[in-house]
Symmetry: C2
Subunit: 316 residues, 2 copies
């Protein structure tokens, strides 16, 4: 109306030297979408969609490196050097393991816009198990939607007041989140939303004594502390959307399965017979029984690598 037009016209005058630009546009990549926070040098949220089919592929993380996002202005970008010797690992929000479909998707997931400073044990442990849990959901549900990101939660200090306090690392003051969140939506075969789970996890080591359900939170509460409505179109159908941990069990893989998973990853990436045997022997050392998948993988890799080393004349 008239009032709105007048305000817009006045706005034109006020903003004669340009609209202040905080890089607020949503950024689209091969297999994920994100909003980047130019002030904190980390994403605000990263959205993904996975299915059994999308997870297939053989793009390899060994062929890519973490790098500043080429689409972000340098002075607002994190650099690899900010993370070095900081005590914090580079934690993917859209995991590399969800991006094996293509080498582009894999590379995109290594942009530092998809990364936050993450506690190393958390990254390699609980958070990794949560990511595996999400991938495993694609065996039960046709489509899985995931939004992940960092969170800075206030604490009550000695003076009785509430404070938000977070470390910043490197020359570019990359913000270290106090917590990480993940919202998971699973669809039924008819592609209707079936269940939703929102989780907030502290950015610190979390052992096998903790369950995923310990970190289940109310989506509304998460959105309020984030200042973001995460799934605006889900609300319309909310009545039918169940609690993910009631529909599924929200059980993360245990220590033994997790170790087998890692040995599987190492077998997959072994590039010499010698390396293959070393990894295979780990099973015995750790008193782990290989499952059928591992046995098959070992056999297949062994014949592949034998053939290859015969051709190149390389001896084990």
């Amino acid at each position: 109306e008239e009032m709105k037009r007048m305000k817009a016209a006045r706005g034109q005058e006020i903003l004669k030297y340009g609209i202040p630009d905080n890089g607020k546009d949503v950024r689209y990549y091969s297999n994920h979408v994100l909003l980047y926070d130019q002030q904190k040098r980390i994403p605000t949220w990263v959205a993904e969609h996975i299915s059994a089919n999308i997870l297939k592929g053989s793009a390899d993380r060994r062929h890519v490196k973490f790098r500043p996002d080429p689409e972000v202005e340098e002075r607002f970008s994190a650099q690899n050097g900010d993370y070095w010797r900081s005590g914090w690992s580079r934690g993917h929000m859209a995991p590399a393991g969800d991006n094996r479909k293509s080498q582009e998707a894999m590379q995109d997931s290594f942009n530092l816009t998809n990364v936050v400073p993450q506690n190393l044990e958390n990254n390699a442990g609980f958070w990794n198990r949560l990511e595996i849990y999400c991938r495993d959901l694609t065996n039960k549900f046709s489509n899985v939607f995931i939004i992940s990101g960092p969170l800075m939660l206030p604490i009550v200090d000695e003076d009785g007041n509430k404070y938000v306090k977070y470390q910043v690392i490197g020359e570019n003051n990359v913000a270290v989140p106090t917590h990480l969140f993940k919202v998971i939506i699973v669809e039924d075969k008819k592609r209707k939303p079936k269940a939703m789970g929102a989780f907030v996890v502290p950015n610190e080591p979390i052992g096998y004594d903790k369950k995923l359900t310990d970190y289940l939170v109310d989506l509304e509460a998460l959105e309020k502390s984030l200042g973001v409505t995460l799934v605006p179109k889900l609300i319309e159908t909310e009545g039918n959307v169940k609690n993910l941990c009631k529909v599924d069990n929200c059980k993360l893989i245990g220590r033994k399965e997790f170790e087998l998973y890692f040995i599987g990853r190492k077998l997959e990436s072994a590039n010499t017979l010698h390396r293959l045997e070393t990894v295979w022997n780990e099973l015995e050392e750790k008193k782990l029984k290989p499952d059928r998948y591992l046995k098959e993988l070992y056999k297949q890799k062994k014949s592949e690598l034998t053939e290859q080393e015969k051709l190149t004349g390389k001896s084990t």
Copy 2:
């Protein structure tokens, strides 16, 4: 190109349940423009344009109250109650004193989207003097553009690491900035940018011993720590834009003038003869000599109020 189109198409699938919404749109008001931070419940930046003509007017702050911005979703909004008994005052970014042109502009400036928790002495003292300095610039320069906002600067803690730490107040965790910034651009008569000054001021009491130039900063450095390019279109003509404090003196009004200014404000808002005389007597108590403006104001108000009280039969 093709790649971009593919990413956008994949993005559509990924964001099936809506684009996460952090309320990123720039908001236009009668006499200011701002970006609101739904997470911190304070603005990111507030832009204004003032001139001698725009500053004219008689809209009165006594007729308006601070209020949650009606355009902001309630769960992402600050409330007056968040500020009560918090120890922090409600500090305008676009000052009430710049919005006397109309009652709408005045009311808009009292939206809590234009407000940050500000140290009371800072608000009533140094920051107020800085605002007066901006208004005084309109006597020397045809047009003045101002961008103001909050800042959270990191500090090195006892453990040697850098941290950002800020208080949050009330139920809605309204963020208390550690610093405030103001960027001022003045134009010459040809409406070309003549000079620019960027200032960062700690959110704490600042006395008369400090000069405005003590807080002069590099615009680039401010933008980097804010994560915002504040005046994108100024850069093009940067070569010609001088340092404001070299073109002007950047001198804030002194203690005596500031007290006279306050007495002027009180005289203006006096609504009984009794109140008018009380304020006038303050001058003598404080051993301050009224200038011509104050003398004229006193005479005019006295005759107005005498007339008025005669009509309503009210006696002093």
